[in-house]
Subunit: 191 residues, 2 copies
Amino acid sequence: MAHLSIIGTGNMGQAISSVVTKGGNTVELLGQTDTDKPVTGDIVVLAVPYPAIDQVLAERGEQLKGKIVVDITNPLNFETFDSLTVPADSSAAAEIAAKLPGSRVLKAFNTTFAGTLAAGTVGALTTTVLVAGDDADAKATLIGVISAAGLKAIDAGALKRAREMEALGFLQISLAAKETVSWTGGFGVVA
Amino acid sequence: MAHLSIIGTGNMGQAISSVVTKGGNTVELLGQTDTDKPVTGDIVVLAVPYPAIDQVLAERGEQLKGKIVVDITNPLNFETFDSLTVPADSSAAAEIAAKLPGSRVLKAFNTTFAGTLAAGTVGALTTTVLVAGDDADAKATLIGVISAAGLKAIDAGALKRAREMEALGFLQISLAAKETVSWTGGFGVVA
């Protein structure tokens, strides 16, 4: 059984928490200001907006050593909805991984809206979580947690693929913001 | 009724041709070497691999003036399957548009495998073609051609969004190359 810590109690933190417990695994959901509570999970999900990541890393960097750290962010410019705020040849995940050399960083959950995680479905499809990372064991562990909840999870490749996953997340959010797709829809994966 | 020219007789050219005629529109399918035949369509689909685009533009650039030109390419490094060959802050579509100032360039069809275009479905979903471009009328025209065939087509935004569409196309091809998804599957869109 896996024990996860989720930092961030917003829609995404709550939705991921529900996935974890649905699969019979355990979770602690920590607010961004719960800095007095050390993380106890072997997997730590950073479910805060991208601009808040640096503060979390400053406060908890030491605690994250040796752990699987999951980046779920979509680093959009939310004023223009027209670009990402990370360099074009990088990704939020790459920047986080560079700041956490002692952690195994994964990118996941950024291409699935909270509603589709909580429901387990996106339209007629089972919700599929893309997981990218450079550590095969870490990926397999997270994929196991997600699969236990009845969702699908697939290995999207090395952490380098986070760049494409963030592009996908950006495109999906831009479509939802224009109401071209709903916040309970978006991209689904057909195997 | 719209009349299209498709340059390139591979899987994608054939699949797009079948979509066009299914919707009651007309199409001419030109081989890359049919340089003696001028394009007659008001919409011209460049259905050749990205490395062949420059030659097509050199041969037909003048003929493409005033026309809607559709870029369907995924400019992957097909040796490594690990990167795109266009600059990170650009896209194949942006490069093509820069070379065709007298044309209205759209990005479309690069996120739908040939099999899902021909079938009209991706798993349980109707195949959805993403269309990006800076000219609203051009987008509406192409969306009409696709919709007439019973497929869905959605406005994915400005031509700038081609960058994210090419990332999506890249990710999808990398998943299919690893057999994580099949060439008749991939990403579907749930409205």
